[in-house]
Every structure is written in structure tokens, then in C-alpha cells.
Homo-oligomer: 346 residues x 3
Amino acid sequence: MQLTIFEIAEQIGGEVVGDGSGKIESVSAIASAGSSNITFVSDKKHAKSIAGSGAGAVIVSEPIKGLDKPQVLVKDVGAGLIEVLKIFAPKLKAAKAGIDSTAVVAKDAKISKEASIGACVVIESGVEVGKGSVISSGCKIGQNSKVGDNCRLDSNVVVQHNCVIGNNVIIQSNTVIGSIGFGYSFIDGAHRLIPHNGGVVIEDFVEIGSCCCIDRAKFGNTIIGAGTKMDNIIQVGHNAVVGKCCLLVAGVLLAGSAKLGNGVVMAGHAGVAEGVTVGDGVIIAAKSAVTTDVKAGKKMFGMPARSHIEMLRAQSSMRRLPEMVKQLKQLSLKVEKLESSKDDKE
Amino acid sequence: MQLTIFEIAEQIGGEVVGDGSGKIESVSAIASAGSSNITFVSDKKHAKSIAGSGAGAVIVSEPIKGLDKPQVLVKDVGAGLIEVLKIFAPKLKAAKAGIDSTAVVAKDAKISKEASIGACVVIESGVEVGKGSVISSGCKIGQNSKVGDNCRLDSNVVVQHNCVIGNNVIIQSNTVIGSIGFGYSFIDGAHRLIPHNGGVVIEDFVEIGSCCCIDRAKFGNTIIGAGTKMDNIIQVGHNAVVGKCCLLVAGVLLAGSAKLGNGVVMAGHAGVAEGVTVGDGVIIAAKSAVTTDVKAGKKMFGMPARSHIEMLRAQSSMRRLPEMVKQLKQLSLKVEKLESSKDDKE
Amino acid sequence: MQLTIFEIAEQIGGEVVGDGSGKIESVSAIASAGSSNITFVSDKKHAKSIAGSGAGAVIVSEPIKGLDKPQVLVKDVGAGLIEVLKIFAPKLKAAKAGIDSTAVVAKDAKISKEASIGACVVIESGVEVGKGSVISSGCKIGQNSKVGDNCRLDSNVVVQHNCVIGNNVIIQSNTVIGSIGFGYSFIDGAHRLIPHNGGVVIEDFVEIGSCCCIDRAKFGNTIIGAGTKMDNIIQVGHNAVVGKCCLLVAGVLLAGSAKLGNGVVMAGHAGVAEGVTVGDGVIIAAKSAVTTDVKAGKKMFGMPARSHIEMLRAQSSMRRLPEMVKQLKQLSLKVEKLESSKDDKE
């Protein structure tokens, strides 16, 4: 596939600065781009390196002066990049609507004729799947669970019984929704599993990566709020509630009954302890664990997590520690000397 | 489903304090319970909030005085909760005994007639599955592995060859038992895999969450002791030995040949290093890594983990550090001044 | 299976010191070995315990004087152990070449006649699988992806479209290759997914454990360099580049566009932040997170990671902190006293 820079600008609603006649075949990063690639500059830091790039064109939100390259001027570089990546997306055969002959589907399941059910998929009694949804090979959807419209469940996803998945939800491969949570009572010398009568609710526009686990609730529901995006290998415990539009990076761990507000961001391997409430817009640094309630807007760091600034200050002092140990020793000697000289005079 | 409070009390072996005629439809948490819900008070902390709850009844182990609500008095609230949750468990169709027509089962496999083998399950040569066990869709059981009685393997579990799973074991979806461990020798400039001739032994009443990995041993067996419960996304390295009745929370990581005693508790993302032995009843805090042997009964925290108390003390001092840096500076100035005034006098 | 010590020595290219007529049935660790087991001593630490072992024979690289046991002398104990484990490997039926009747394979896929495609495998349009490769049950290989010769994909592995897997690659169960990465642009109040047009390239002799996720690139490829070995539950973000012969232990997390040189070692739960470059031979300690570029050969520890030595020193001072707080207080009192006595005199 080949398009002129001018054609690209037209398709993404941009304006060409310079010569728009060059031909572009794909999108590339600044460092690796060649003359048939279009690249992009999303911040001033990258603006410096663009002059040395071999790219045939560059997407910008402000024209870069003196740049010897055609520029495609757009309002928002992020949005422009998404559009140009769509243009050059690899051509794949779309999933066919209908039920694959190797799928095992319960008679009373309600599958939209516009849904696609892949090979070796298992769909149990009482399940509903909406129009435009694609359930890829090897998935299992348990009794009475509902998948809305325009969802995509990649191969080998497991959704257990009585879960509700909204519209426009993406769940990537090998993720498990509705597993039984880690709730035990210690009775007569043994840990006895507490039955998990509740379910999981995944609201609209949620996107979940691969190898994640979202446990069902003991009663009520574990909830993932609309628009929240989850990376890979994330654990959400029973009865946890995640707000809307949160970003959870890989390795995140939410213990049972943890509650996140809206717009919370958790970096890699971050965690929230059992029953803890985290306010709107809180940012939790990588490898940090929040163990007590946190108010909206805070930035937390460490284990147990404290205010980010406080922890950075403490860490920076920590690196001075060996020096402080020495200073303290010298100072003690000086004071001793002063004391003994005082004693001499008295 | 509807039961009177009196009927519930009867079924869970409790005693009604107050009016037992109200009708209950399900179990709920104190905060969200309405008049058709029964809730529970498991500790004094929650006893305070029960008065404000809309619950129609409450399970208690001691009558709460002055409470304007019917109470169901039981010996152990945890046990009572389990019983009442069982009563109101969602009604699901049970797995049918027998082998699904889409399963691929080796001719010499010994499958109990009272076992259930789901759709697209693959069972290899020499495998045995005991009575009452349910192997759900998409599972694979490798050559010569044995699954005991009354086990439940959820969809897409993989058990590789020569593994032994006891009775009453639960393994949730997408968990892998008997993968080859991470053991390499560096020979002639390359890492060469050490063959893993051993297997995995999972003892009775073990419960394992989703997306866990339990590697097979190089020789002998990786062992999970009876009654141990494991959460999701847990890694158990080759030749590791986990004692009886341990609790391993999500994200735990046991390196090769790590050894846990009985009743060990590891919190989220905790780890034990290669070959390290952890005594009975040790508690390892979240995100902590034990790197040297630990005696029974200790509580460990940090990376590398130390005694919990020692670490908390050090952490609390750490937050005083920036203040200490200032104090040390001021003190130095004072001592300098004292020294110079002494010099003046001499 | 039974072999004399002499026969074993012959097969692994070693030399018997002592009586080679004893019969050996398997390999075992020093502590658990009996008279029908052969064990091994790989370092001086273990040499001490061998005298007390019940082992029938021992593999060594230098004869142990005064040891009352037959020894098999080899150049490299690690290599010798690999050979002897191969001899005693459990006998398993090999996967049959050909396509299982329950597999769903696209008509235009090019599958070598010497490859083995297991039960319920799904192979999409344009896929190629080379000779000697074994694709186990429940795997899915997406459109246009290529698997080289002599690879082994264990049950339920998912490889999405447009990925390239070299020769002699092992991928263990439930691992996902080519999932869509965690890349979003915040536009008009919502996180919008950036299309991932790129793929994943896994070079020759790479070995990947269970439940790993390797995300596809936005453009170009996410790359795992030749000879790299990965443990279980590892996340590799989009556009990350891992060098050759790296060792990544369980729980490792590489963020998007992270770059590892050759021979990098990352311990359990270690991480590298977005876009950070790590030099050749760097070692990153368990639970540490590298957040800025690191030069070749460094050993890093902590979060954020610093030089290993610097961090150990700071940690050791940290444990002196409560003592330092006391000292500082006492010193302040002494100085105050000195100051007031000076004032008295003036």
C-alpha cells in the first residue's frame, strides 16, 4: 500500500507543509524511519531528533521551522498517529459471523447472528452474546453470562458463570473472568473456602490485557468501571471495585474489596491492600503498595506507600546515610574533647 | 428463593434473637444490605456499623444489645456465613458425568465413570481420573498423570506428564502444572536447559487459583502440601516444597528448591529465593523477599526481608531522615563555634 | 532402567574413580539420594555433604580424596549432569507427525509434513510451521505468523497474527505472543487505543516459560534475541527489545520500548521502565526497577534501582538509624550544656 503525503493529510484531516507528493508505505519511529515512512513528533524533546531522521514525512501539531522535510500539520499528534496507523494497518481477514462447526454451544444460548463464535469455543446454558462480538477459538463462557455488542474476546479467554460484560469490551488471550476469589475462614484447624455467590461486571469500553484474573464477588459484584484500561498479568480480587477510566499497568494487584476511584493510575507491580479505598485521580508508583485509604489526587510511592515527595526526600537522605554515620562519629569525638577541656578548666 | 429468618437459623444450626418471621432472599455486606438481605458481624469493628445497616437480619456470635434487628446467633460467624451462602448459592447445572464427544481421550486412560470430561479436553496415554472429578473444557492432562477423586480442574488448565494430583483438589482456569523449570547450565558460551526428569505432587485439599505455574522438578518432585491454598498468578519453581495449610496470596514467587514449612503465610508479591528454607508459621509481608533461612514463627518484611519490627522501626526513622540531616548540620556549626571560642580563650 | 556406573561413565564421556560395577536407576539430589541413585557435586560447598549422602555414585570434576564412593570424573559437572539426566529421562510417547483430526487448519497454511499439530489446534490463513515442530493441543496461531523448525509450543499457547518465531524455540503453556500492547492516547476525555501495526520476532534458541505475555509493536517489532531464556509469568511490553542470551527470571516486567543488551540477567519481579536502555551484562536484583539508562556491566538494586553496592551500604546504615536518632539527641543535649556553660563564663 502506497499513499502520497497529500493523500494521507487529506485522510487524517491534516494540512501539508512542504512538498506533499512523496510516497509513504508505513509508519515508523523517528530513529528507524526511512524515506518511505511517515513518523511523528509528539513533544519538544523529540523535535530535536527529527532533523537527523531519514523519515519521508512527519506529523506535527506545530510546524517545525527550518525542517527540510514535508510536515503534516494536525491539531493533536496522538489522534493523527492513530488515524495514520489505521490507514497502514496490516490487512487481515475479518472473523466470519456465525458459529464454527467445532464450537459447543448450549441450545438455550442466545447468540446474535452478527456475532462470530470461533473454533472449539464452549458456550454454556443461558449465555447471551451481542451483535458484532467476536469470541475467538478456545474461549469458554459459563452459565448465564452475558457479553454485549461489539466485544472481542481473544483465544482461550475464560468467563465463568453469571458475569456481565458490557459493550465494546476487549479481553485478550488467556485472561480469566469470574474465578473464585481467595476467601477462607479458618474453622476447626482448616481453611474453608467461603462460597462466592456474586459475579463480575465489566462496563462498556473496558480493555483488558492477557493473563489477567478478575475474581467473582462473595456477594454483589466485582466491578471494572467504564473506560478503564488494564495491561497484562493483573489480579483483581473478589469484591474489588475499579472506577471509570483508570489505567492499570502490568503486574498490578488489587486485593479483595479494594476500591479505586475514577482516573486512578497504577504503575507496574503496584498494589492496593484488602478493603483499602483510593480516591479519584490518585497515581501509585511502580512496585508500591497502598495499605491505608488515600485521598483524591495524591501521588503515592513505596511499601507501605507514602506521599511521593516525602518518600523521594527520604530516599535521597538515605543515600547520604553512610556519610552521616561518619559525621556523627566525628562530631561525638569533638564534643567529647570540648567536654574534657571544659572539665580541665573547672 | 425466599426463606424466613427462622428457616435460615434452623438450617445453619443457629438461634433467632428477635422476630424470625421476616423473609430473606440473599446475603449481602453490611453497607449494601437491604431488608431482604441477611448480613453478618464478624468482629467488634463491624458491630458499630450494623445499627445503620438496612439489613433484614444479621448473623452474630454474641447477641448485640439494643439492636433493633433480628439476629441469628451461631457459634462461629465464619462457619455460619459459609452455610448461609451455600443456601443462597446461584443455581447452576452440574457437570454431567461422562466424556464429551469432542474430548480426545487416549484409549489406555482410566477415567472413572463418575468423572466428567468436558468439551475439547485432551487426555493422554496412561492418565487416570478418579470419581467425582470434573475436568472442564479445554484442559489437557499429559501422559501418565493422575487426578484423584472429587477434583475440579476449570477450563484450559494444563497438567503436563507424570504429575500426581490428590483428592478434593481445585485448580482454576489457565493454571499450568508441570511446566519445565528454569534451570540452565552455562556451557561453551550458551545456556543449556537441564532436563527435568521429576514431576509435581499436589496433595489433598489443595486449592490453586487462575494463571499459576507450578514447575516440575529436575529429579524427585515439586510438592504442594495438603490443605494449602494458593491465590492467582503464583509461580512455584522446580523442586520447591510447600508445607501443609499454607496461604499464598496473589503474585507470590517461590524460586527453585525453596522450602516452606507448614502454615506459612505469604502476602501479595512476596517471594522466597532459591534454596531458602522458611520455618513453620512464618508470615512474609507483601512485596518482601526472603533471601536467607528463616526460623519458625517469624514475621518478615522488606527486600531483603528482615524482622518485621526491625524494619518498621528503620522505616519510621527513615522518614525522620531529612530532619536529621538538618539537625546534624546545625549541630556541626554549634560545635565549630564552641571550638573556635575555646581556641580564642587559649 | 538400570545401568552400571561404568556404563554411565562411558555414555557421558567420564572416567570412573573407584568401583564402577554398582547399578544406578536414577539421578537424585545429595540429601535424598540412595544406593541406586547417582548424584553430583558442582561446588566445594556441596563437597562437604557428599560423604554423608547415601548416593551410590557421584559426578565430580575433581576427584574427592578419601571419599568412600565411586566417582564419575567429568570435565564439566553441569554438562555431565545434563547427559546423565537425559539417560534417565522418563519414557514418553513422542508427538506424532501430522495434523490431528480435531485441529482447524486454514487451507493456505503451509505445515511441514514432519510437524505435529495437536488436538483442537487452530491455525489461521497464511501461517507456516517448519519441520520437527510440535504444536500441542489448544494452541492458536494467527494469520501470517511463522514458526520455524524444531520448535515446541505447549498446550494452549496463543500466537497472534504477523509474528515470526525462529528455529529451536520452546514456548510453554498458556503464554501469549503478539497481544496488543498497552498504548493509549488521551483524546477528548477518553483513552484511545493506539493501533499496533507491528509484530513480534522471537529469534532462534529462545525458551519461554508458562503464562508469559509478549506484546506486539506499534510499528516495527518487539524482539527477543537469540538464546535468551525466560521463566514463567513475564511481561514484555510493545516495542521492547531483549538482547541475546539474557536470563529473565519469573515475574519480570519490561515496559514498552525498554531495551536490554546482551547477557542481561534480571531476577524475580525485577522491572525496567518505559524506553529505558540497559547495557550488556547488567544484573538487576530481585524486586528492583531500573528507571534510567544503565551502562554495561553494572549490578543494580532497589526501586528506583541504584548501584548494588551503594544500596547495600545505605540499607546497612538504615538499620543503624534508630541508634543514630538516639545519638543525635544525646549529642544535642551535650552541646547545649557546653553552650550554656560557655555563656555562664562570659
